[in-house]
């Protein structure tokens, strides 16, 4: 397959058939990974730079592993706040990277649209690894792959996304992907954490967990950033957990075979109860991490092909 664009900046620009093709390829990489084999020829001679302006362990590691399993030279750059205070701008950084002839640039930034800005200025294919409150496309793809492996399809499923929707790029990318693939999506949370206009994305809004989870096939809990509490959007962690924390009692409203997901890292006892997070049959949180590597391999593979004509 080829991507419709040279970059992966968000789910918004993908057609359902692109999503399906990426998931199919990722599925094959998931099997390859489980068999312990690698395909180091795919990105041999290519350079992948992980450019992280925001702390991340799992996403960066996942991209690093994906790149290495496909044979790329992988470089991690964590741009600390100190170099920002030295006055180097995002575009200075872009110019530096361009001079290094990097092929694939994985970017995480606290500001929405930062990868899009970089994409205008660099020759590399840019992959958005999370920008502000905008998108986190590989997370949505890995969530979709995890769901598809268990449920066989995305079409016709009911997915409840719970918690801090307003500040979540994971929620946005998941809503775009799942609605495009024919799932029914509900968002569940207190009104202060539901973003304005979200109903225009084809989701329904619920402020009560029992109501939002009723009959759901998939329940996704989102990380609650602690700064949201200091910002006064919710009064306390215990109040949040009481009404919106995913525990056994609330999960009982979902279908008996409903899967529990979380993009990590988890705040146990805030948005999710440990008993649920570690549940042997319901929780697929660890499998999400595994699928993350496979999805990123697929994305890197396809973008490298898209970038090189006749490859």
């Amino acid at each position: 397959m080829r991507m419709p664009t040279r970059h992966l900046l968000g789910i918004e620009s993908l057609h359902p058939r692109d999503i399906s093709a990426l998931l199919d390829l990722a599925e094959s990489y998931a099997l390859l990974n489980r068999s312990g084999k690698t395909r180091r020829d795919v990105l041999r001679g290519r350079t992948l730079i992980n450019l992280f302006f925001e702390d991340s362990t799992r996403t960066r590691t996942s991209f690093e592993l994906a790149g290495k399993r496909l044979g790329a030279d992988v470089i991690n750059m964590s741009v600390s706040t100190s170099s920002v205070s030295k006055g180097e701008t995002l575009l200075d950084t872009a110019a530096t990277l361009n001079a290094m002839n990097c092929d694939l640039l994985v970017v995480r930034h606290k500001s929405s649209g930062a990868p899009a800005l970089l994409a205008q200025k660099v020759d590399a294919a840019v992959i958005n690894a999370g920008d502000g409150m905008h998108e986190h496309p590989t997370q949505a793809l890995l969530d979709a792959l995890t769901i598809r492996r268990h449920k066989g399809t995305l079409e016709g499923l009911t997915v409840a996304i719970c918690g801090d929707i307003a500040h979540s790029r994971v929620a946005r990318s998941n809503i775009l992907l799942l609605t495009a693939m024919g799932s029914t999506v509900r968002v569940v949370g207190p009104p202060t954490l539901i973003p304005s206009g979200i109903e225009q994305f084809g989701v329904t809004i619920h402020h009560d967990m029992a109501d939002g989870l009723r009959g759901a096939d998939i329940v996704m809990a989102l990380r609650l950033q602690t700064e949201r509490m200091s910002g006064g959007l919710i009064p306390s962690a215990r109040e949040f957990f009481t009404f919106y924390g995913l525990d056994a009692a609330k999960l009982a409203h979902a279908r008996p075979d409903a899967l529990v997901m979380h993009p990590g890292p988890m705040n146990r006892g805030v948005e999710i109860d440990s008993q649920i997070a570690d549940h042997a049959t319901r929780s697929v949180i660890r499998e999400q991490v595994e699928m993350g590597v496979a999805v990123r391999m697929a994305v890197l593979d396809v973008l490298a092909r898209t970038a090189t004509p006749n490859a």
Binding site: L117, G197, F201
Partner: protein, 423 residues
């Protein structure tokens, strides 16, 4: 100076209702005569102007010029060039520079700097509060004596109700208006209008009611104090409804808007285009249409360029971090004419909103064509097309929200006190 005869133009002067084909004679810097067919004095420069419109030089009620303090963005000299390219001959200059225009000497210095260009009259606003810091009111009496036309904190809202009350009340004693950026500050910490688009782009939103809320409050304060308020760059239907109603009740409430708010809607910020990041932010289509209606029905008193010069370092940033504001001088006339071409505004109405009505707001002796008055004039071809391109605009600031736009209406000549300063 040689005489100039502009021949065969459609001369439109909304102040007098004059709208006829004819000639206009400039002698010694003033309009010596105009009418159906004038004799051609010996040795006069003849400007043939068939199919063109001659109107008063435009009066821009709201522009930030960068000087003093932000000369890397724009200077008075570069702004004058950009303004003349759009037929502007008078600019009301915002005070929120560094230092802010809160001292009589600065008011005089800005007016003198305008005069020194030979291109433009600068009518300075005085700061509403010292250093535009929003704490204590400035010296309205002394600033007014020095020539300040009204008082404002520019892009900053005069936030606390008690402070706005005092400003309105005290300014009234000197017959001056307070010009307000109407946006409730505690709701204004965002990068786009709150709603589906801001949510999709992951941008912090400013609820649309932040504007109407502040307008409602300040109208109440006008009733309380007997003062006069002018709301700048009004952008929402809700705020315009309140202003319309206040005017019907005879309150001293006026307002302006700027081309982005009747020409663009929030879709312009798609792909994180920071040149379309403005303050107030671009709105949904229904609000744009409400602005167009309010221009047509007279609720809006003037169209201002709302020129906010920014350089690449201000704008080449992730959207939420980029500075708001658009360059507006060079495109003021053409974007306004788009509403005429679309049939939403009459030509005379549009020209009035750019000339006599803004001049009347501030009591400026400008914005009209009259015998014996300085020849501040704008000659344009209404149907000739051009493309607005950031990078190719006159003046220093290139941050136009209209980048790439094909538009009709080309200025062919601008005269300031009889001297041709453009074309």
């Amino acid at each position: 100076m040689r005489d100039t005869l502009i021949a065969g133009a459609r001369i439109i002067d909304p102040a007098s209702g004059h709208d006829r084909l004819g000639d206009l004679l400039i002698r010694d810097g003033v309009v010596a005569d105009f009418g159906a067919s004038l004799d051609r004095p010996d040795g006069a420069d003849i400007v043939t102007a068939e199919h063109c419109i001659l109107c008063p030089g435009l009066v821009d009620t709201r522009a930030s010029l960068g000087e003093p303090g932000f000369e890397y963005r724009e200077t008075i000299a570069s702004a004058a060039v950009a303004a003349n390219a759009s037929g502007i001959t008078t600019i009301a200059v915002l005070p929120d520079n560094a230092p802010a225009t809160d001292d009589p000497a600065l008011v005089r210095a800005i007016a003198a700097a305008g005069e020194a260009t030979g291109r433009i009259t600068l009518a300075p606003y005085g700061a509403a509060t010292r250093a535009c810091r929003g704490e204590a009111i400035a010296e309205y009496g002394l600033l007014r004596q020095a020539g300040a036309i009204a008082f404002t904190d520019g892009a900053r809202t005069i936030g606390p109700a008690a402070l706005m009350r005092r400003a309105l009340s005290y300014a009234r004693g000197f017959g001056a208006m307070i010009v307000q950026h109407p946006e409730e500050p505690s709701l204004a910490d965002g990068a786009a209008t709150e709603g589906a688009r801001a949510t999709l782009m992951g941008l912090p939103g400013i609820p649309v009611c932040a504007e109407a809320m502040l307008v409602a409050r300040d109208i109440a304060l006008v009733e309380l104090t007997g003062g006069a308020v002018h709301f700048a760059h009004v952008s929402t239907g809700a705020a315009l409804d309140l202003i319309r109603h206040a005017k019907q009740r005879g309150l001293a409430v006026t307002c302006d808007t700027a081309p982005p708010y009747f020409d663009l809607n929030e879709t312009a910020i798609g792909d994180f285009r920071t040149y379309a990041k403005l303050s107030p932010p671009l709105r949904i289509e229904a609000d744009r249409l409400a602005v167009v209606s309010a221009l047509a029905d007279g609720t809006i008193d003037a169209i201002a360029s709302d020129h906010q010069p920014r350089d690449a370092d201000d704008k080449r940033l992730p959207f939420a971090e980029a500075a708001p504001g658009g360059a507006g001088l060079a495109t003021l006339l053409a974007i306004t004419l788009a509403q005429v071409h679309s049939g939403a505004l009459g030509l005379g109405t549009a020209i009035a909103l750019l000339t006599v009505r803004p001049a009347a707001l501030f009591g400026l002796d400008a914005g009209r064509i009259a015998k014996g008055k300085p020849a501040d004039l704008c000659l344009f071809a209404p149907d000739r097309s051009w493309r607005i391109e950031a990078g190719n605009l006159p003046g220093k600031a290139q941050n136009t929200p209209f980048d790439g736009r094909a538009i009709e209406g080309v200025v062919l000549g601008t005269w300031k006190a009889g001297r041709r300063v453009f074309g």
